[in-house]
Every structure is written in structure tokens, then in C-alpha cells.
Symmetry: D2
Subunit: 339 residues, 4 copies
């Protein structure tokens, strides 16, 4: 096993900063040697803050650097697939933020190139590494609830994003629910065969005017016969609501939200517990570090990454089917056909 993985971080925005910071401070075996961003001050500032030796505006400087082993693709979504292909051709291991692309043909091209190059590929489905959800999956996989009958995911953001973001997002199913589509695959251990999606615009009419919904419930039928349901909202005023439940022939396992602490405060007026942690940076802080460690370990030990390119493709297929079902007023749509 090599001792150090030399990494270039492509994209110095919010998620790029997060990965770079974790890789430098919390991931033994990782060494970030370069960062790039089309906006030079962002790259420079991040490099200086973390003591990263090199920064560029052109990510190809990273791709072409023979002393770099792996890249983290944290640039805008439209660059994920082309940069993945460039990196694969250059023989770099790849950690790519989700989604790989909204276009199935482009994702499949990525899969093809990654397979040909024989490099590691990991997609940023960070929630799989949450201590609660990974425990649920472990128990389910170990037979702790028997055969899976029902999988339930509640996933609600604390506040709606700006309308500009909504417009560019590709819609709630591909932008937000995609994490939950990955989660139901992860928890059920089965592929999704068919979905039926109901949506509504209840949080903010501007979201509806932008052609999207802010509230939705998606029912799923798995290949192994189990059923599932996901409910989403763009605005849970009490904080980021991220819960799952798997029910089966021998029992059930549920995962509750995370809170800032475990205190209970009793007064003449009320008994108060802490609210759920506010959003993904708070809730999934440890999960991001765990996913980064997993990637670094897979690269250094030449083993499979825990979330491969195929896992990046499947949720996009489900999201496309869900969107179509929503457009059909909730009619069931099979997953996997081209849109």
C-alpha cells in the first residue's frame, strides 16, 4: 500500500473547499498538492489558507501533472462528465461530486472511459457514510429485519434555495431527491423497477413559476418485490430532516435526526429537546470525512470504491422516471428506459 495519495482538487467553491479542508486536516494519507478554479482568487485563497503548494485557473494543469494520483471533481455539474473523461484518460483516480451528469449518454460515456482506463471512480453520495444510515444498512444487510418489505426515506431541506438555483437545478427529482434515490438502493440492496411521483408547490409559488415543485412524495417498487416511499420538502422550518426506516419480515430499523446535544430542558411551559442540525454541512460533516477516507483507502490499497460509477448512473435513471411520472400526474413509470 502506498502511503500517500497526491490529490488535485478541481473547483474551489463551497463543496471544493469542504473536501480540500477535510483532506488536508482530517484524512491521513491524503496530500492535496494542487487546486484549480476558473475564478483565480478562489483557487489562490484556498491554496494559501490550507498550505496547498499550487493553484491554477485551468484544471488541465492538474490533469496533466504526473505527480498527481487522484482528482476531486468539485466544479459545476456540467463539467463533471467531461472532466471525468479527461481525468480517466490521464490515469487519475476520480472522486466526482453528484450527479455525474443529467444526460444518460454522457454518464455512460464516463462509465466506459473509467472502465477502459481502470481507474478508481467514486461518486459523492455522502449520506451513505452517515453513522446512522450506514448502521441501518449494516443491520438490514445482516438480515436484522429479515426480507425487506418497506423502505421509507424522509428528506427535507431547512430552507428553499434561491430561485436562480432552482432554475438551474434540473428540478427537485434530479437535484434533491437523487440523494434519496441513492439511499433507497443502498438500504434495500435492490434496484428500483418503477416509480410513481406526486408533486406540489406549497412552499413558494416562485418555485412553481420556475417550473418546479417544492414538495413531493415518490412511491417505489423494487426489483425484489419490496415497496418504498420518499417524501421531500424544500423547507422544514425546524431544520434538516433526514430520517430513514426499513421494515421487513423480521422487524424494523429506524434512524432519527442528529442534534447539537442530548439535553432535555424542563420548565413550567414545556419540555424541550434540541432541534435537528440545521443543514448538510452540520449534519454530514463526519460523513464527508468518512467518504473521503474511503476513497483514499480504495486508491491506496487498490480495492473497489464503495460508491462506483454505476451507482452514479442509477439514481439519475430513477430521477428521470420520477420526473416523467410527475408530469403524467402520478402514473407509474418504469425505471431505466431512456427519457
Amino acid at each position: 500500500m502506498n502511503e500517500t495519495l497526491r490529490i488535485g482538487v478541481i473547483g474551489a467553491g463551497r463543496i471544493g473547499k469542504l473536501h480540500a479542508n477535510n483532506l488536508v486536516n482530517s484524512v491521513p494519507g491524503a496530500r492535496v498538492t494542487a487546486v484549480s478554479d476558473v475564478y483565480e482568487p478562489a483557487a489562490k485563497e484556498l491554496a494559501e489558507k490550507l498550505g496547498i503548494p499550487a493553484w491554477y485557473t485551468d484544471h488541465r494543469k492538474i490533469i496533466e501533472d504526473p505527480d498527481i494520483d487522484a482528482v476531486f471533481i468539485c466544479s459545476s455539474t456540467d463539467t463533471h462528465s467531461p472532466v471525468s473523461i479527461e481525468a480517466a484518460r490521464a490515469g487519475k483516480h476520480i472522486f466526482c461530486e453528484k450527479p455525474i451528469d443529467h444526460d444518460l449518454a454522457k454518464i455512460e460515456k464516463v462509465l466506459e472511459e473509467v472502465n477502459r482506463a481502470g481507474v478508481k471512480y467514486q461518486v459523492g453520495f455522502n449520506r451513505r457514510f452517515d453513522r446512522n444510515f450506514s448502521r441501518v444498512q449494516e443491520v438490514v444487510k445482516g438480515g436484522g429485519v429479515g426480507d425487506v418489505h418497506i423502505v421509507k426515506v424522509t428528506s427535507r431541506d431547512p430552507a428553499a434555495p434561491p430561485i436562480s438555483y432552482v432554475k438551474a437545478s434540473g428540478g427537485i427529482f434530479v437535484d434533491m431527491t437523487i440523494h434519496d434515490f441513492d439511499m433507497v438502493r443502498f438500504l434495500s440492496g435492490s434496484e428500483v423497477e418503477e416509480v410513481s411521483a406526486y408533486g406540489a408547490c406549497l412552499v413558494d409559488p416562485a418555485i412553481g413559476e420556475a417550473g418546479d415543485v417544492d414538495t413531493c412524495i415518490i412511491t417505489l417498487r423494487f426489483k425484489n418485490g419490496a415497496l418504498g416511499v420518499i417524501d421531500n420538502s424544500r423547507q422544514a422550518v425546524y431544520g434538516y430532516d433526514q430520517r430513514v426506516e426499513v421494515f421487513g419480515s423480521k422487524g424494523m430499523i429506524t434512524a432519527d435526526n442528529e442534534t447539537a446535544n442530548n439535553t432535555t430542558w424542563y420548565t413550567a411551559e414545556s419540555v424541550q429537546k434540541e432541534k435537528p442540525l440545521w443543514f448538510f454541512l452540520e449534519r454530514y460533516n463526519e460523513a464527508f470525512i468518512t467518504e473521503e477516507k474511503a476513497f483514499v483507502k480504495a486508491c491506496l490499497t487498490d480495492t473497489d470504491t464503495p460508491v462506483g460509477a454505476f451507482d452514479g448512473l442509477q439514481p439519475v435513471l430513477i430521477a428521470i422516471a420520477a420526473k416523467k411520472s410527475y408530469e403524467l400526474g402520478g402514473a407509474p413509470v418504469k425505471v431505466g428506459g431512456r427519457a
Copy 2:
């Protein structure tokens, strides 16, 4: 206000015994003066055990008794609507176990006769009187979660009924989910406009052979725009799983299961809480008494019953739509059209 309501209990099976026992022991103002059952020993035994003065095999003895103010219809489902009509015509107040009927025309005939007679009518949707669910409804109604966006009901029986029961039940939607259809109306304060139902036979193949499913997820769209989801299973091995959640613009309220006690037991192997109470007799024991008190009070004070004949009709309409949706493979079906 009259001080005592003289009641005849029609049907001395499981649910008739339960009501008679509660009315005698736990409902001030109620006096059970007669009981009937087509099987004489059942009527006689119940009467003797509870000190009820009269028992009959023919329920018309109760209907025709001028000293009886009200009846509890606890006989088999097919008798609910004709006996309701007889009792209404005789001027008796009526508590009728759910469902009024599976046939819409018969239910509407009951509504018509009840309205004409001006008697009180209450349908046995006992769960509305559960301390948890009634608190949820109270908070929602008081604006405690703002506008309702999502209503969720989990409702799972501890063990599947005998196949003979399944065959005569009318199917899971009208037999089991009907309680949940009532619950979502109660909690949301809105009518259901459309449903989409997924079903599967995962618990016992014999249920499938009987033409029914044992596992289902039903998505709902309410007239006020909110969305809802119900999940059912005929078999939760850990006990009767009865939970609800209402999410809205200003928050969320959830109700958890009831347990035999509030202890937590820590050992080297595990930390154990109590399991949910086993089934409806344990879980809804207090709720039955509360619903009976509400009926008696409505009769004695000449006020509206909390769950009227209209409330008996609506869940049947939803169940019919759900069944149709299931038969259509999950396609959305509007509620309210005749089947």
C-alpha cells in the same frame, strides 16, 4: 341534559363485548338495558356477566323497545346498514361499527334515513380518540404546524388474520386501510381528492391466492393541495405499529407508539426499550372508552357526534378508489366517483 342513556347492544361478538363492558364499567351516564345476538349463548353470557337485564336473539326486540334510547350496532358488517335504517326509523340514536357498508348506495340510504329521522349517528373510528392522535389533530387544527403540506400514517398489524377472514374482508383497503383513510381526513382537515396505490403480497402467499395484498403504500392528494402517504402491513412482528406525522409550513408534529411501560434496560449486550403494545385491544383500550363517552354525551346533550355518517361514507369512497388504483397498477384515481 338527561342523566342516563338507555342502550341496547346489537351483537355480542368481540367488539360488542368490548363496547358493552366499557359502557357498563367505564362510561358514566350509560345504562345497557339489553343485548342481542343471533347466537343466544353469546347474548346470554354477556348479559349475565355484566348484569344486563335483557337478552335476545332478535335485534328487533331492541329496536322496538320504547325504553331504549340508543343502539350500538356491533353485528356483522353486512347488517350495519339495514339495522342502521331500522334503528333510525325507530328513532334510536345509533353508534355503528365501521364500515357502514361496502356498497355506496346502501351507505347513502343510511345517511338519508338518519337525516330524516334526526337521530344521532356515530361511526366507530376509534383511533380519532387515541390520546396521541387527538393531540396531533388539536395542534394541527390550532395552526401549530401552519398550513399542512404532508400527512403520513404508518399502520401495521402485528399478525395477519386467518385466510378465511381475509377472504370475507373486502380486501385490505376497505378492511384495514379504511381506518387510515379516516385518520388522514381527521388530521389534515381536508378531503382526499385522488389516490395512487401500490400493493404487494410479501407476508403470506396465501393472502395473494385469496386475491388480496398484505403490504401497501397509498399516496394521496388532498383538496387543499397537501400530499399524504399511508403504509400498511398485515404483519409487524414487533407489535401494532400505529404512528402519524403531520408536516406543514410552520413545523411538524409526530405521534409515537404506546408501550407497556417507560423503562430502559441496559446490559452488556444491549439497551432495550419496550415493544409497542401488541394490538388494538391493548393500544386503543382508552380510545374506545373515550369514543363511547363522546357518543353518550352527544345523545344526552343533543349535540353533534364527533364522527358522523358522512365520516363513515368518505373513507369507503377513498378505499374504493385505492382498490381501483391498485388494480390499475398504481395509476392515480379520483375519489368520489362510483366504482
Copy 3:
């Protein structure tokens, strides 16, 4: 087994009403045939409300009635021991509210007379019949926590009683903590050998002026070597706080408070659970019925009562030692010597 226990209730104050009402409405096999109170309207009102055939101002009418099998002594504390003796001599089974007396000689006289008469005797330590505490005891007794090392009881009233009550109460240790002294014996399965008591007047200075304390912590050493601690307050503004914990060589079991329901309410401001039930009438409603049933059963089946006269004596001995320890500034005092 006789089918019915004919009971006379002596004392129609708060606790007499409670027992009479439960015996009439909730305890099969019990028949209350008479009630007495020195204040005639109280006796009459209770008799009429519950349909009890006879009422008296003189409790001896009950004692002397050959058709009465058992008495519930619910009159003022100073009458508990003399009426117990009268009833025992008349061959009546006896349920006596706690404490039997504050004077050890009088308690021992009661034990003597009860033993001589061979009647059943049960002391009103209702908390043993609470579903939580009885489960804790059951697990401990079954070896579920191994050898007992530490027993903890938290017992706090929601609001301080009137000063007039405090003055006549005999002090917090004999009035309030006495329930907890019974509880630690019940849970540990061992007698208390020695206590050390700290007290303070923190809730209301008037309690201190009346010569009592309103806050105390009592440490206990059991005969089997285990240690224990009780903490009391006369005022927990959030409601009746009644929790226990037993820790041992193989684990721990804890019992939490009871609440009005199991809901959780999430808003932008807070996550709220229900407060503990307000006071003993709410919290121990079921426990009272359970203790009454146990007494009636012991009488009808000629078996031992679950809380005998000896169990009435021991907590008084501990309370006397605790009071002495408090007066000595917390110095340890052996239990069992005469004060």
C-alpha cells in the same frame, strides 16, 4: 374463592373518594356497601354518587356490621392505628392508607393485633403498582441487573402543600420521603441499614419557619451492601417527577416519567415533548386500581397481600432515622433503633 368482597370505606375525603370510586367502577369482585365520615355530608354525597347503600358518621357502624368483609381506612392519619386495631378485632380484612402511624409503639401494636386476628392487612404504598416501577422490580428480582449496587429514586412534587398541611405532616421525611423509603426497599429487595440526610429550605421560607425542609437528599446503605440515594423537592414546576434507577453488576434499569401523550412537536423555535403528568392523581391513577385489585384478590383467595403491615413499619423506621440524621447535620444514623 368467594366471588364478592363486601367493603366499608372509612373516610370520605380525597383518598377515600378515590378508593370508593375505583372499587365501585374498576375493581371486579369488590362491592362497597357502606361509607363513613365524621362529616356527614361528605359520607352522604359519596354514597349517593356511587350508589352505596349505607352511610354513617360513626365508623364503628362499619366495624360492627357482620355483612362487611373488609375495610379501607382512609380517615386522618392519627386514626389509622386505632381503627386498624378495632377492625382487626372485628375480623375485618384491612386496607390502610400510609402511614400506619408515626409512633412506632402504635404500629407494633397494630402488627400484633393483625397477626392475632389473622386478617389480611395491606398498606397503601400505591407506587409499587405503577407499571414502570413494578417492571423495574420484576427485572431486578429476575436478576436482570445482577447484584444490586446502586438504587436511585427521584421524587418531586409539582407544588408545595399549604403551610397548614406542612405543620401537621410530621415533616418531609415521614410525609413525603416515606413513599421513597418504601420504593428503595421494594426495588433493592433489601432492608435499609443506615441513612444520612441533607435537607434545605429552598422553595419557600415559610416551610423552614414551620420547622421543615422542602429539598433533601438522603443517602442509604442497605443490609446487602448496596448503596442508595433519594432526592426530594416539594416543587418541580414542570410537574410530578417520579423516576427510579437500579444499577448492578450486570446492568441497569431506569423508569422515566409518564406523559399525557407521546407526541413531539417541531417548530422553528423548539422541539417539544409533553411534560410529566401533573400529580399523583394523574400519574398513579392506574396504580391505585391495581393495588385495590391486589387487595381484593388477596382477601378473596386467602393469599398474602403484596404490601403487609411489616412493610408499613419499615419506612417509618427509616424516616425516623433520616429525620435524626438531618437534625445531626447529615451524620449517618442506623435504622431501627427507637428515636
Copy 4:
């Protein structure tokens, strides 16, 4: 504010490794430039693993280094006070593991030298920085429970230490309870005036043979009139049990244990929650980092440390009184007199 604090770590045992690792990886602004240990391989290994430039067997190399700003004293307890004095005289800021010493005269000498030198001094009471306990203190300090009446601390280790450790520990009160004595001062905001201690040897007779106890309950009286209680055990088989509760005139706040995740697993046999985290390395991992950050910040910004030398003295005084009380069979002993 200086940007970097140059630190020498004295002692490369378990706790020295922990601090060095955190300072290197998780505390921005800290730079560990040297480490010492009397056992050279330990110092060398730690230095090499973390990339620390220098290692020594003689801690005076660190004390005398003009380029070092602060020291972490992590060597054996008997060295804490002399090394503190050497470091103070050399003008180094000092983080010292607890306890400063068991000998009051030596602690007071440290206080004197630290005051004279004007250096920062922080004692390693890590639990104050736990997210739960710091929240409790924050609420109490903000008046959230009103005047404090009762403070309760449960503190139990998962397994007893080796007998060799017990023999050298100074006894349970000064070795284990000392953390809890600090905690009650922290939570109550008041000094302890008097204690009464009960102890027993219930876990392992060998501990008793070594002249110590393994189970104890200590009652405390605070200067502000409040009461407190601590219970300790050397062996809680279900894991590290670390809970606190503060009760006052306006309410109560409690802090529960930490667990590996928030899942609940339901089966036909049981409902299981996760056990408490196993021991202090798991439970207080974040708390250690928070305390280190607080020390580094106090040094860099020239502000007071959150836990000063006086806070190091007080728990030792309480421990001495508790030990004396235990030896007197539980008689109350005033805190603060010399032993």
C-alpha cells in the same frame, strides 16, 4: 493576536499522544515543535508519526527552548507540580493534565508561581467541554432553571482499571470522582462547602484489599445553599455512563449519554437502542479538541483560560474532604481545611 502557538508536549503516554495528535491535526493555530518522554522510543515514535521536528528524553530541553510558547504537561501525576513550576519560571503558558497534585501545599506553590510569572494556566478538566455538559451549564448560567436547588452527576467507568493502577491512584475520590467534583462546581456556579461520602467495594474484592472502594455516593452542600449528589462505579457493563441533571426553582435540565448512532431496532424479541459510547476516548473525543482550542485561543489572544489553576485546586480539596468523610463512615466534612 499571534497566529501560531508553538507547543512542547511533555509526556508521550496515552494522554500525551492524544493531545499531540489533536494539536497537530485538529487545532488551527497550534504547532507542536517538540515532544519529550523519559522513555525515548515513545517520544521518537510520536514525533515521527506526527512530523514533530524535535524529541527529547529530558523535558527541560522543552522548558529551556526560547522558541516554545507553551507546554502540555502530560507526564506522570507526581511530575505535574514541579514541571508546572519550572515552566512558569521559564515564562511558558501551561496546559496541565489533572490533577495538579494530591498535595495541597504543592498545588498552592504552583498557583503562586503561575501568578508571579503571569503565564496562562489551564487544567485538563475535559468534560466541561463536552457538548452536552457545556449546554447544561449555559442554560443554568442563563437562568434557565432558576435558582439551583439540586445538582446530580452520574459517572461510571465501563470497567475497573488494573489493581496496580488502583494502588497508585490515590483512591477513587481523587482519581475518578475528581472530575465530578469539578463538574458540580462548573454546573452549579457555586463552591462546595461540605460533603458526606458513602463507599463500598462491590465490583472487585481486590480493590477493597488495595484499600479503595469501587462504588460510592457523595452528597454535597454548596455555599449558595443548593444540594448535590454524585454516584460512581468503577464498572458499568453497558459502557461509560456520564449523565448530569440540574434542578432549580424554574425547571430542570438533563444531559444523556452519547451513542454510536441514533438508530432503533425493532424485532419480535425487543426494541434496541445503541449502548453508551464505551469510554472517555470515544465519549470525550470532541471535548478534548474543544479544550485544546480554548487553551490555544486564550494564549494567542491573551485572555483567561476557561479552567484555571484555582479550578485545579478546588476539586482536590473536595476529594480530600470526601475521603475523610468516607473514612469517618459518612460523617459530613467541611471542604477546605487541610487534611
